[in-house]
């Protein structure tokens, strides 16, 4: 697979696009706070990232985007664009699960719980063990959970757990009552999606985790404030 990678994330109010060299080196990254403007601004943001990186669209080797969880509309905007790039450029594309990619992006060894706010006391969350820069090992799969219940389950591990993602800010009060919770601040960056995909692609066991199907983690009948993003 020749050529640099284009990566983008439309799963939250931050809209970001990055261009990576094949070795995972960051060539350019553009992020903007763009609530409700993802459908308008995704292509201009991609275009700007490519221009800053000095890469032409026809030189791209692959593209990757966040496949969820996150804002339903945001995920669809990103994944529809990802499939169009595949069809239009004839390059391979990867839908990257956001929670393990977030865990992979932080370097410290230990237990990591990426968690996204899903209103009330709920979060889209998972638990991973991170060690020696390898892909995170999944201990609890990504799912929609009541955060107090999730914190209760963590006790069984008897070790500190680093929380990442916007639930850290949205549910600080709940997490502060959990003795094992450590609050991280890291936000997922577009480049992290690409780095995760570059590595995951080599490991056949999780290769199908890179499909372009959206990971909503919640059935459609339930109306949900996240969709309004």
């Amino acid at each position: 697979m020749k050529g640099p990678w284009l990566c983008f994330d439309t799963s939250t109010e931050m809209l970001s696009a990055a261009v990576l060299g094949r070795d995972g080196r960051l060539l350019a990254e553009v992020s903007r706070h763009a609530p409700r403007l993802h459908s308008a601004m995704l292509v201009p943001t991609i275009s700007e990232a490519l221009r800053l990186a000095g890469v032409s669209r026809s030189d791209l080797g692959a593209a990757a985007a966040n496949r969820g969880p996150g804002s339903y509309t945001g995920l669809r905007i990103g994944l529809a664009a990802l499939e169009a790039l595949r069809d239009g450029l004839g390059i391979p594309v990867y839908g990257v699960p956001g929670l393990p990619a977030a865990a992979f992006a932080q370097a410290q060894d230990g237990l990591v719980a990426p968690a996204l706010d899903a209103r009330r006391e709920d979060a889209f969350c998972a638990l991973y063990e991170v060690r020696d820069g390898a892909l995170p090992r999944e201990l609890m799969e990504p799912a929609l959970r009541r955060l107090p219940d999730f914190c209760e389950d963590l006790k069984a591990h008897g070790r500190p757990v680093l929380f990442l993602g916007d639930a850290v800010r949205a549910h600080r009060a709940i997490l502060e009552t959990c003795e094992y919770a450590r609050l991280g601040t890291a936000e997922l960056r577009a480049a992290d999606l690409g780095r995760y995909a570059l590595r995951a692609r080599e490991e056949a066991t999780i290769a199908d985790a890179l499909s372009t199907a959206a990971l909503y983690l919640r059935p459609p009948a339930v109306s949900d404030g996240r969709d309004a993003r």
Binding site: V43, A81, D87, A221
Partner: protein
């Protein structure tokens, strides 16, 4: 020039390849009707999810049918509104990224106006044209002065005509979608046995009203009238309203032909009777081929090509417009 058209405003995922002479090379429509049937209507989040699953395969299917390659396409046209926000954004995002990938111009089009252009797939377009568009979401009478200049002569003040078909079908216990079901049972009915009241008119206006018909039909049914008779009376009533507004519009504009498009124009009774009535005063009825009456992407491509020829180019930050005034092309 060949245009790739993309449509995802409601419950059909569609892609088409159309030439600038209005010839359809390939047209693929993935319907979601089965998905929404149980709910008696379209569920927005369910629709948006299905659009994402089906869009890329639908585009591929259109290319296969056309037997052309990506490099043969010179323009991308996409529905930018009106419609369901989440559904529109799937098509729009795909179209924008596809145009970007191929370095092609992009034109966003109005879905309601595009319905009229379905009639010009295989027929010459000669401005100004008078168009009656009746579907599940919209009922409007338009005068098309140019690709970018559309005048609204009349519109529904309440339900769309297609919506009335759905609601009456539900009241008669027929199911969803209502249009074909009502047409079928009306064949065995007699409208005189269950006459419905005159429809409201609006002083000096060509606006429509359909919500009263639904209520009247429901009352007749509860009072013991036969569903077939009510269905026949309902169709007669819709016809008479469409005809009265159309006749006034023809007088005012001096038009010699009427385009009748949108899902309701697939109704064989309305097609035939409108054509018969208009022919009496020497007016021609132009209807799209049946497969392009309901939502499709060939009509999106057809309007996109007309707009492109008139100099229209959409900006890179084009956004969906779920609520959009019908006279914006």
């Amino acid at each position: 020039m060949i245009c790739l058209g993309i449509e995802s405003s409601c419950d059909e995922t569609a892609a088409a390849l159309v030439t600038d002479e209005g010839r359809v090379l390939g047209s693929s429509v993935a319907s979601q009707i089965d998905l929404h049937e149980a709910f008696g209507g379209v569920v927005p989040e369910v629709a948006a999810r299905r659009h994402l699953e089906r869009l890329s395969p639908t585009v591929l299917h259109a290319f296969q049918e056309a037997g052309i390659a990506a490099k043969d396409v010179g323009l991308v046209a996409v529905t930018r509104g009106p419609g369901l926000a989440g559904a529109l954004m799937v098509g729009l995002s795909f179209a924008k990224a596809y145009a970007f990938a191929r370095d092609l111009p992009l034109v966003g089009v109005n879905h309601v106006v595009a319905h009229a252009y379905a009639a010009f797939l295989g027929a010459d377009l000669c401005y100004p044209e008078l168009a009656l568009i009746a579907s599940g979401g919209h009922t409007v009478l338009l005068q098309l002065h140019a690709a970018q200049e559309v005048e609204v002569l009349g519109r529904s003040r309440d339900d769309a005509a297609g919506e009335a078909f759905d609601k009456v079908a539900r009241a008669l216990g027929l199911g969803y979608p209502g249009g074909p079901l009502i047409e079928r049972i009306a064949r065995d009915g007699d409208s005189r046995r269950a006459p419905l009241p005159e429809v409201r008119t609006f002083e000096g206006s060509l606006d429509f009203s359909f919500s009263g018909l639904k209520t009247a039909a429901q009352q007749r049914f509860l009072a013991g009238a036969q569903a077939a008779d009510i269905a026949a009376a309902f169709q007669e009533s819709v016809l008479s309203q469409l005809l009265s507004r159309t006749r006034t519009a023809l007088e005012r504009t001096g038009a010699r032909r009427l385009v009748f498009a949108g899902g309701v124009s697939a109704n064989g009774f309305l097609r035939r009777r409108l054509a018969e009535e208009l022919a009496k005063s020497g007016v021609e009825l132009l209807v799209p081929p049946l497969r392009y009456s309901t939502d499709n992407a060939a009509m999106i491509a057809r309007l996109g090509l007309a707009l492109y020829a008139a100099g229209e180019r959409s900006p890179e930050d084009l956004n969906a417009e779920p609520v959009i005034h019908p006279f914006k092309p």
